[in-house]
Subunit: 179 residues, 2 copies
Amino acid sequence: MRARRRRPLSELEGCVLGHLWKRGPSTPYSVRRMFLDSPSSHWSGSAGAVYPLLERLEQRGLVASALARRGGRNARNYSLTRAGLGRLQRWLAPAALDEIVAVPPDPLRTRLGFLRSLPPRERRSFLERAVRALRAGVEVLAAARTRDEDEQQAHAAACHAMRARLEWIERLARSLRRG
Amino acid sequence: MRARRRRPLSELEGCVLGHLWKRGPSTPYSVRRMFLDSPSSHWSGSAGAVYPLLERLEQRGLVASALARRGGRNARNYSLTRAGLGRLQRWLAPAALDEIVAVPPDPLRTRLGFLRSLPPRERRSFLERAVRALRAGVEVLAAARTRDEDEQQAHAAACHAMRARLEWIERLARSLRRG
DNA sequence: TACTGCATGTAATGAGTTACATGATTAC
DNA sequence: GTAATCATGTAACTCATTACATGCAGTA
Protein backbone atom coordinates (compact mmCIF):
# COMPACT_ATOMS: atom_id res chain seq x y z
CA MET A 1 0.00 0.00 0.00
CA ARG A 2 1.62 3.11 -1.25
CA ALA A 3 1.80 6.02 1.17
CA ARG A 4 -0.34 8.81 -0.18
CA ARG A 5 1.78 11.77 -0.98
CA ARG A 6 0.74 14.65 1.22
CA ARG A 7 1.17 17.86 -0.61
CA PRO A 8 2.21 20.66 1.70
CA LEU A 9 -0.31 23.41 2.31
CA SER A 10 0.07 26.60 0.39
CA GLU A 11 0.26 29.85 2.33
CA LEU A 12 -3.31 30.62 1.41
CA GLU A 13 -4.53 27.21 2.50
CA GLY A 14 -2.69 27.54 5.80
CA CYS A 15 -4.28 30.92 6.43
CA VAL A 16 -7.72 29.59 5.67
CA LEU A 17 -7.30 26.71 8.09
CA GLY A 18 -5.98 29.22 10.62
CA HIS A 19 -9.05 31.35 10.14
CA LEU A 20 -11.34 28.39 10.71
CA TRP A 21 -9.37 27.47 13.82
CA LYS A 22 -9.70 30.99 15.11
CA ARG A 23 -13.30 31.80 14.25
CA GLY A 24 -14.83 28.38 14.23
CA PRO A 25 -17.24 27.26 11.49
CA SER A 26 -17.32 29.89 8.79
CA THR A 27 -18.88 30.62 5.46
CA PRO A 28 -16.71 31.02 2.40
CA TYR A 29 -17.63 34.65 2.40
CA SER A 30 -16.34 35.26 5.91
CA VAL A 31 -13.09 33.60 4.83
CA ARG A 32 -12.95 35.97 1.91
CA ARG A 33 -13.65 38.89 4.22
CA MET A 34 -10.58 38.00 6.24
CA PHE A 35 -8.46 38.65 3.18
CA LEU A 36 -10.47 41.52 1.79
CA ASP A 37 -10.26 43.40 5.08
CA SER A 38 -6.72 42.55 6.02
CA PRO A 39 -4.53 45.61 5.56
CA SER A 40 -1.32 43.79 4.81
CA SER A 41 -2.30 40.75 2.84
CA HIS A 42 -1.28 40.39 -0.75
CA TRP A 43 -4.12 38.03 -1.56
CA SER A 44 -7.14 39.39 -3.26
CA GLY A 45 -9.53 37.13 -1.39
CA SER A 46 -11.21 36.59 -4.71
CA ALA A 47 -14.11 34.20 -4.86
CA GLY A 48 -12.31 32.32 -7.57
CA ALA A 49 -9.57 31.53 -5.10
CA VAL A 50 -11.56 30.83 -1.97
CA TYR A 51 -14.46 28.67 -3.13
CA PRO A 52 -12.36 26.11 -5.02
CA LEU A 53 -9.80 26.14 -2.22
CA LEU A 54 -12.39 25.15 0.37
CA GLU A 55 -13.62 22.37 -1.89
CA ARG A 56 -10.07 21.11 -2.22
CA LEU A 57 -9.56 21.18 1.53
CA GLU A 58 -12.79 19.28 2.02
CA GLN A 59 -11.73 16.61 -0.46
CA ARG A 60 -8.56 16.24 1.53
CA GLY A 61 -10.52 15.87 4.73
CA LEU A 62 -9.06 18.95 6.37
CA VAL A 63 -12.36 20.77 6.60
CA ALA A 64 -15.96 19.57 6.72
CA SER A 65 -18.97 21.41 5.42
CA ALA A 66 -22.48 21.48 6.76
CA LEU A 67 -25.31 22.55 4.49
CA ALA A 68 -27.23 25.49 5.79
CA ARG A 69 -30.06 27.21 4.04
CA ARG A 70 -29.57 30.89 4.47
CA GLY A 71 -32.02 33.35 3.03
CA GLY A 72 -33.67 30.87 0.73
CA ARG A 73 -30.39 29.80 -0.71
CA ASN A 74 -27.99 26.96 -0.33
CA ALA A 75 -24.93 27.81 1.67
CA ARG A 76 -22.17 25.99 3.44
CA ASN A 77 -20.51 26.27 6.78
CA TYR A 78 -16.99 24.97 6.79
CA SER A 79 -15.29 23.81 9.94
CA LEU A 80 -11.84 22.51 10.76
CA THR A 81 -11.56 18.76 11.22
CA ARG A 82 -9.17 17.08 13.61
CA ALA A 83 -6.93 16.21 10.67
CA GLY A 84 -7.18 19.82 9.57
CA LEU A 85 -5.92 21.07 12.90
CA GLY A 86 -2.96 18.70 12.69
CA ARG A 87 -2.12 19.93 9.22
CA LEU A 88 -2.47 23.52 10.34
CA GLN A 89 0.03 22.90 13.12
CA ARG A 90 2.53 21.20 10.85
CA TRP A 91 2.16 23.96 8.30
CA LEU A 92 2.69 26.52 11.03
CA ALA A 93 5.82 24.98 12.49
CA PRO A 94 7.30 22.67 9.86
CA ALA A 95 10.37 20.55 10.50
CA ALA A 96 12.38 22.49 7.91
CA LEU A 97 12.17 26.21 8.49
CA ASP A 98 14.30 27.25 5.53
CA GLU A 99 11.47 28.34 3.33
CA ILE A 100 9.58 30.39 5.84
CA VAL A 101 12.73 31.98 7.22
CA ALA A 102 14.27 32.85 3.85
CA VAL A 103 14.51 36.47 2.80
CA PRO A 104 10.96 37.33 1.82
CA PRO A 105 10.35 39.04 -1.51
CA ASP A 106 10.03 42.80 -1.49
CA PRO A 107 9.24 44.59 -4.75
CA LEU A 108 10.80 47.81 -3.50
CA ARG A 109 14.06 46.12 -2.58
CA THR A 110 14.05 44.27 -5.88
CA ARG A 111 13.97 47.58 -7.70
CA LEU A 112 17.03 48.84 -5.88
CA GLY A 113 19.06 46.33 -7.86
CA PHE A 114 18.29 48.20 -11.08
CA LEU A 115 18.18 51.77 -9.86
CA ARG A 116 20.93 52.96 -12.18
CA SER A 117 18.82 52.22 -15.21
CA LEU A 118 17.03 55.44 -14.29
CA PRO A 119 18.55 58.84 -14.98
CA PRO A 120 19.79 60.44 -11.72
CA ARG A 121 16.89 62.89 -11.46
CA GLU A 122 14.27 60.16 -11.67
CA ARG A 123 16.28 58.02 -9.35
CA ARG A 124 16.17 60.67 -6.68
CA SER A 125 12.54 61.53 -7.19
CA PHE A 126 11.61 57.86 -7.12
CA LEU A 127 13.28 57.39 -3.76
CA GLU A 128 11.69 60.49 -2.36
CA ARG A 129 8.27 59.39 -3.48
CA ALA A 130 8.97 56.00 -1.94
CA VAL A 131 9.92 57.58 1.37
CA ARG A 132 6.69 59.56 1.45
CA ALA A 133 4.60 56.55 0.50
CA LEU A 134 6.31 54.38 3.11
CA ARG A 135 5.78 56.98 5.82
CA ALA A 136 2.10 57.12 4.96
CA GLY A 137 1.95 53.33 5.00
CA VAL A 138 3.57 53.13 8.40
CA GLU A 139 1.09 55.61 9.83
CA VAL A 140 -1.88 53.73 8.49
CA LEU A 141 -0.50 50.48 9.87
CA ALA A 142 0.27 51.99 13.24
CA ALA A 143 -3.31 53.18 13.54
CA ALA A 144 -4.86 49.78 12.87
CA ARG A 145 -5.98 47.58 15.75
CA THR A 146 -7.06 44.00 16.32
CA ARG A 147 -8.52 42.19 19.27
CA ASP A 148 -6.82 38.88 18.74
CA GLU A 149 -3.50 38.74 20.56
CA ASP A 150 -1.76 36.67 17.91
CA GLU A 151 -2.87 39.03 15.23
CA GLN A 152 -1.57 41.90 17.29
CA GLN A 153 1.83 40.26 17.29
CA ALA A 154 1.72 39.68 13.56
CA HIS A 155 0.59 43.24 13.05
CA ALA A 156 3.32 44.63 15.28
CA ALA A 157 5.83 42.58 13.34
CA ALA A 158 4.53 44.13 10.14
CA CYS A 159 4.97 47.61 11.61
CA HIS A 160 8.49 46.76 12.70
CA ALA A 161 9.35 45.46 9.23
CA MET A 162 7.86 48.53 7.56
CA ARG A 163 9.82 50.88 9.76
CA ALA A 164 13.02 49.00 8.97
CA ARG A 165 12.25 49.36 5.28
CA LEU A 166 11.54 53.04 5.68
CA GLU A 167 14.82 53.54 7.55
CA TRP A 168 16.76 51.94 4.76
CA ILE A 169 15.13 53.86 1.97
CA GLU A 170 15.51 57.10 3.86
CA ARG A 171 19.19 56.44 4.30
CA LEU A 172 19.54 55.65 0.62
CA ALA A 173 17.61 58.74 -0.41
CA ARG A 174 19.84 60.88 1.81
CA SER A 175 23.03 59.43 0.41
CA LEU A 176 21.74 60.02 -3.09
CA ARG A 177 20.87 63.64 -2.38
CA ARG A 178 24.36 64.24 -1.06
CA GLY A 179 26.39 62.14 -3.52
CA MET B 1 -8.05 53.24 -33.39
CA ARG B 2 -8.25 51.63 -30.01
CA ALA B 3 -5.30 52.13 -27.72
CA ARG B 4 -3.63 48.79 -27.11
CA ARG B 5 -3.86 47.85 -23.51
CA ARG B 6 -0.38 47.59 -22.07
CA ARG B 7 -0.28 44.97 -19.43
CA PRO B 8 2.08 45.91 -16.61
CA LEU B 9 5.23 43.87 -16.24
CA SER B 10 5.28 41.16 -13.63
CA GLU B 11 8.08 41.22 -11.06
CA LEU B 12 9.83 38.42 -12.87
CA GLU B 13 9.56 40.16 -16.20
CA GLY B 14 10.92 43.37 -14.70
CA CYS B 15 13.89 41.51 -13.25
CA VAL B 16 14.66 39.86 -16.56
CA LEU B 17 14.62 43.18 -18.39
CA GLY B 18 16.81 44.56 -15.61
CA HIS B 19 19.25 41.73 -16.09
CA LEU B 20 19.45 42.38 -19.82
CA TRP B 21 19.97 46.05 -19.17
CA LYS B 22 22.76 45.27 -16.74
CA ARG B 23 24.58 42.49 -18.56
CA GLY B 24 23.76 43.26 -22.13
CA PRO B 25 22.69 40.55 -24.61
CA SER B 26 22.23 37.32 -22.71
CA THR B 27 21.26 33.74 -23.26
CA PRO B 28 18.20 32.37 -21.53
CA TYR B 29 20.51 30.25 -19.46
CA SER B 30 22.41 33.23 -18.11
CA VAL B 31 19.08 34.78 -17.18
CA ARG B 32 18.21 31.60 -15.34
CA ARG B 33 21.58 31.66 -13.63
CA MET B 34 20.77 35.07 -12.22
CA PHE B 35 17.86 33.54 -10.35
CA LEU B 36 19.49 30.21 -9.57
CA ASP B 37 22.48 31.92 -8.00
CA SER B 38 20.72 34.76 -6.26
CA PRO B 39 20.69 34.10 -2.52
CA SER B 40 17.51 35.96 -1.75
CA SER B 41 15.24 35.41 -4.70
CA HIS B 42 12.11 33.39 -4.31
CA TRP B 43 11.98 32.45 -7.97
CA SER B 44 13.24 29.09 -8.98
CA GLY B 45 14.67 30.31 -12.25
CA SER B 46 13.10 27.25 -13.81
CA ALA B 47 13.45 26.77 -17.52
CA GLY B 48 9.69 26.50 -17.75
CA ALA B 49 9.43 30.06 -16.48
CA VAL B 50 12.30 31.73 -18.28
CA TYR B 51 12.07 30.43 -21.85
CA PRO B 52 8.39 31.22 -22.37
CA LEU B 53 8.85 34.54 -20.59
CA LEU B 54 11.54 35.64 -23.02
CA GLU B 55 9.35 34.62 -25.94
CA ARG B 56 6.52 36.69 -24.51
CA LEU B 57 8.79 39.69 -24.08
CA GLU B 58 9.97 39.33 -27.64
CA GLN B 59 6.41 39.22 -28.95
CA ARG B 60 5.78 42.44 -27.09
CA GLY B 61 8.84 44.01 -28.65
CA LEU B 62 10.63 44.55 -25.35
CA VAL B 63 13.53 42.28 -26.21
CA ALA B 64 15.03 41.15 -29.50
CA SER B 65 16.75 37.86 -30.16
CA ALA B 66 19.64 37.09 -32.44
CA LEU B 67 20.24 33.53 -33.55
CA ALA B 68 23.64 32.23 -32.61
CA ARG B 69 24.90 28.75 -33.25
CA ARG B 70 26.71 27.63 -30.19
CA GLY B 71 28.31 24.21 -29.99
CA GLY B 72 26.50 22.86 -33.03
CA ARG B 73 23.18 23.89 -31.64
CA ASN B 74 20.70 26.65 -32.12
CA ALA B 75 20.73 29.26 -29.43
CA ARG B 76 19.47 32.74 -28.92
CA ASN B 77 20.90 35.90 -27.55
CA TYR B 78 18.29 38.24 -26.17
CA SER B 79 18.89 41.92 -25.87
CA LEU B 80 16.88 44.82 -24.52
CA THR B 81 15.17 47.02 -27.11
CA ARG B 82 14.61 50.73 -26.74
CA ALA B 83 10.98 50.04 -25.93
CA GLY B 84 12.16 47.46 -23.42
CA LEU B 85 14.29 49.99 -21.60
CA GLY B 86 11.34 52.36 -21.39
CA ARG B 87 9.15 49.66 -19.96
CA LEU B 88 11.86 48.68 -17.51
CA GLN B 89 12.04 52.26 -16.27
CA ARG B 90 8.29 52.58 -15.90
CA TRP B 91 8.14 49.26 -14.11
CA LEU B 92 10.93 50.36 -11.81
CA ALA B 93 9.42 53.69 -10.84
CA PRO B 94 5.69 53.53 -11.59
CA ALA B 95 3.38 56.47 -11.11
CA ALA B 96 1.48 54.67 -8.36
CA LEU B 97 3.80 53.30 -5.72
CA ASP B 98 1.12 51.68 -3.56
CA GLU B 99 1.77 48.15 -4.69
CA ILE B 100 5.52 48.14 -4.39
CA VAL B 101 5.46 49.99 -1.08
CA ALA B 102 2.77 47.83 0.55
CA VAL B 103 3.70 45.51 3.37
CA PRO B 104 5.43 42.66 1.61
CA PRO B 105 4.36 39.10 2.40
CA ASP B 106 6.38 37.22 4.98
CA PRO B 107 5.52 33.58 5.71
CA LEU B 108 7.07 33.79 9.16
CA ARG B 109 5.05 36.84 10.11
CA THR B 110 1.93 35.25 8.68
CA ARG B 111 2.37 32.35 11.07
CA LEU B 112 2.52 34.62 14.08
CA GLY B 113 -1.16 35.28 13.57
CA PHE B 114 -1.98 31.66 14.37
CA LEU B 115 0.67 30.89 16.97
CA ARG B 116 -1.83 29.96 19.65
CA SER B 117 -3.06 27.02 17.67
CA LEU B 118 0.15 25.37 18.86
CA PRO B 119 0.49 24.04 22.40
CA PRO B 120 2.78 26.31 24.47
CA ARG B 121 5.78 23.96 24.32
CA GLU B 122 5.74 23.79 20.53
CA ARG B 123 5.12 27.46 20.32
CA ARG B 124 8.28 28.17 22.25
CA SER B 125 10.38 25.61 20.45
CA PHE B 126 9.14 26.91 17.11
CA LEU B 127 10.22 30.43 17.93
CA GLU B 128 13.58 29.27 19.18
CA ARG B 129 14.17 27.26 16.06
CA ALA B 130 13.16 30.29 14.03
CA VAL B 131 15.63 32.48 15.89
CA ARG B 132 18.46 30.06 15.19
CA ALA B 133 17.49 29.71 11.53
CA LEU B 134 17.23 33.47 11.12
CA ARG B 135 20.62 34.03 12.73
CA ALA B 136 22.15 31.51 10.36
CA GLY B 137 20.41 33.21 7.44
CA VAL B 138 21.69 36.63 8.44
CA GLU B 139 25.25 35.32 8.64
CA VAL B 140 25.09 33.74 5.22
CA LEU B 141 23.66 36.94 3.76
CA ALA B 142 26.24 39.12 5.47
CA ALA B 143 29.00 37.03 3.95
CA ALA B 144 27.75 37.35 0.37
CA ARG B 145 29.26 39.94 -1.96
CA THR B 146 28.47 41.50 -5.33
CA ARG B 147 30.39 43.80 -7.57
CA ASP B 148 27.46 45.74 -8.91
CA GLU B 149 26.75 48.79 -6.77
CA ASP B 150 22.99 48.63 -7.17
CA GLU B 151 22.96 45.00 -6.20
CA GLN B 152 25.02 45.85 -3.16
CA GLN B 153 22.32 48.28 -2.11
CA ALA B 154 19.60 45.71 -2.66
CA HIS B 155 21.63 43.16 -0.80
CA ALA B 156 22.30 45.49 2.10
CA ALA B 157 18.59 46.24 2.23
CA ALA B 158 17.92 42.52 2.46
CA CYS B 159 20.37 42.21 5.36
CA HIS B 160 18.73 45.14 7.10
CA ALA B 161 15.30 43.60 6.66
CA MET B 162 16.48 40.22 7.90
CA ARG B 163 18.02 41.73 11.01
CA ALA B 164 14.80 43.57 11.75
CA ARG B 165 12.92 40.29 11.43
CA LEU B 166 15.39 38.55 13.70
CA GLU B 167 15.07 41.30 16.30
CA TRP B 168 11.34 40.94 16.36
CA ILE B 169 11.30 37.18 16.64
CA GLU B 170 13.96 37.28 19.35
CA ARG B 171 11.88 39.72 21.31
CA LEU B 172 8.84 37.54 20.92
CA ALA B 173 10.73 34.40 21.91
CA ARG B 174 12.03 36.15 25.01
CA SER B 175 8.61 37.34 26.07
CA LEU B 176 7.27 33.84 25.57
CA ARG B 177 10.00 32.29 27.69
CA ARG B 178 9.22 34.68 30.50
CA GLY B 179 5.45 34.87 30.24
C1' DT C 1 33.32 4.66 -21.58
C1' DA C 2 30.47 6.67 -18.37
C1' DC C 3 29.31 10.34 -15.57
C1' DT C 4 28.56 15.04 -14.56
C1' DG C 5 27.44 19.70 -15.68
C1' DC C 6 26.05 23.03 -19.22
C1' DA C 7 22.28 24.35 -22.11
C1' DT C 8 17.87 24.42 -24.57
C1' DG C 9 13.71 23.41 -24.48
C1' DT C 10 8.47 21.15 -23.79
C1' DA C 11 4.35 19.22 -21.26
C1' DA C 12 1.41 18.69 -17.52
C1' DT C 13 -0.08 20.73 -13.57
C1' DG C 14 -1.51 23.96 -10.06
C1' DA C 15 -2.83 27.87 -7.69
C1' DG C 16 -4.56 32.34 -7.93
C1' DT C 17 -6.48 36.44 -10.75
C1' DT C 18 -9.98 39.04 -13.21
C1' DA C 19 -14.34 39.16 -14.91
C1' DC C 20 -18.71 37.67 -15.04
C1' DA C 21 -23.53 35.84 -13.61
C1' DT C 22 -26.99 35.64 -10.30
C1' DG C 23 -29.93 36.29 -6.45
C1' DA C 24 -31.02 38.15 -1.62
C1' DT C 25 -30.96 41.86 1.55
C1' DT C 26 -30.50 46.53 3.10
C1' DA C 27 -30.37 51.65 2.63
C1' DC C 28 -32.06 55.55 0.51
C1' DG D 1 -38.12 51.36 -6.86
C1' DT D 2 -33.42 51.51 -7.33
C1' DA D 3 -28.87 51.27 -6.03
C1' DA D 4 -25.39 49.27 -3.17
C1' DT D 5 -23.75 45.50 -0.71
C1' DC D 6 -23.91 40.79 0.81
C1' DA D 7 -23.21 36.24 -0.83
C1' DT D 8 -22.45 32.24 -3.80
C1' DG D 9 -20.58 30.69 -7.36
C1' DT D 10 -18.24 29.77 -12.46
C1' DA D 11 -15.13 30.41 -16.57
C1' DA D 12 -11.19 31.86 -18.91
C1' DC D 13 -6.75 33.10 -18.34
C1' DT D 14 -1.92 33.92 -16.59
C1' DC D 15 2.07 32.76 -14.73
C1' DA D 16 5.16 29.89 -12.47
C1' DT D 17 6.33 25.06 -10.87
C1' DT D 18 7.89 20.28 -11.37
C1' DA D 19 9.27 16.85 -14.26
C1' DC D 20 10.85 15.36 -18.29
C1' DA D 21 13.53 14.98 -22.96
C1' DT D 22 17.54 15.90 -25.39
C1' DG D 23 22.16 16.74 -26.68
C1' DC D 24 26.91 18.66 -26.26
C1' DA D 25 31.37 19.10 -23.64
C1' DG D 26 34.62 18.14 -20.39
C1' DT D 27 36.54 14.84 -17.04
C1' DA D 28 37.63 10.52 -14.28
